[in-house]
């Protein structure tokens, strides 16, 4: 079973600049959200280590402990950045993947995050849920699109 979340946003820079900022400055721009923290210890400071195709996404918590969120799968500057995503709260058999794409739209860049996974749900069970899940995801998408629009972020 693969569920997917897709969130897109347009930023006023070129794909190359957007990619570099996303990958190299993630420790600067990633802001912990009070409701959606990566772990009970907060989000920590994220980094791609090393920054490149053989890297891993790692976060370092305030107490100095580190957690490997996932290995880099694709590192295509200006185009695509994909990596595994596992949080401390995940079950052992639960893996998710994040795929970030950078596409030029005029002189701006559309950044699309696709987060898919949730393979831990047994096949038998997950197979039943196609339609409701589809509707649910669509509603969720509409909800966030509305919210982002309201924030004036110009999806």
């Amino acid at each position: 079973m693969t569920a997917a979340v897709i969130v897109a946003l347009r930023v006023g820079v070129s794909p190359d600049v957007a990619f570099d900022a996303f990958a190299r400055d993630i420790g600067m721009w990633w802001k912990s959200h009070p409701l959606f923290q990566l772990s009970r210890k907060g989000d920590g400071v994220l980094r791609f280590d090393p920054a490149g195709p053989d890297g891993r996404l790692v976060t370092r918590f305030d107490d100095g402990k580190e957690w490997e969120i996932g290995p880099v799968r694709h590192w295509l500057p200006g185009e695509r950045l994909a990596f595994g995503w596992r949080l401390p709260s995940f079950r052992a058999d639960q893996t998710t993947e994040v795929d970030v794409r950078f596409e030029a739209v005029g002189d701006e860049t559309r950044v699309t995050v696709e987060h898919r996974g949730w393979d831990a749900i047994p096949q038998q069970h997950a197979a039943r849920h196609g339609f409701e899940l589809m509707l649910f995801q669509r509603r969720l998408g509409e909800h966030w699109r509305g919210l982002l629009k309201a924030m004036g972020t110009g999806l």
Binding site: V5, V13, K31, H33, H115, I121
Partner: protein, 123 residues
């Protein structure tokens, strides 16, 4: 959707047993089991199912009725077209999965907004 699972009558056990009989009856037929597999992949119209199972439309209707009575399948109309009837497997996604989807979507909406502020020079 999600209508099941709230049985609060005294004869719940008896009705549950009858429902189980209907469900097992619905699953007793190989064509219907194949239909369940196909619907597990994604929702489909009766016509699509009939084509894939090599059944005439009246036979397909009978099977779909048995699957509906068995509580395995439900039908509905997609938002874009009220004339189309789409069949899908019944029962909802788990609350846990929904929660994951909602939280993950919220997380990335939040983080992408933060990224936008950063990359556009706000911070």
């Amino acid at each position: 959707m999600g209508r099941r699972g709230r049985v609060h009558h005294e004869d719940a056990a008896r009705r549950l047993s009858a429902a189980l009989d209907r469900m097992l009856g619905a699953l007793a037929d190989p064509k219907r089991r194949r239909a369940i597999e196909l619907l597990g992949e994604r929702p489909r119209s009766a016509g699509e199912l009939a084509g894939e199972l090599g059944l005439a439309p009246p036979a397909m209707s009978r099977h779909l009725r048995a699957l509906k009575d068995g509580g395995l399948v439900e039908d509905g109309h997609p938002d874009f077209d009220a004339r189309v009837r789409i069949y899908s497997l019944k029962d909802g996604a788990t609350a846990e999965l929904k929660q994951w989807l909602a939280e993950t979507e919220a997380l990335w909406s939040h983080q992408l907004s933060a990224f936008k502020r950063h990359v556009e020079g706000g911070e």
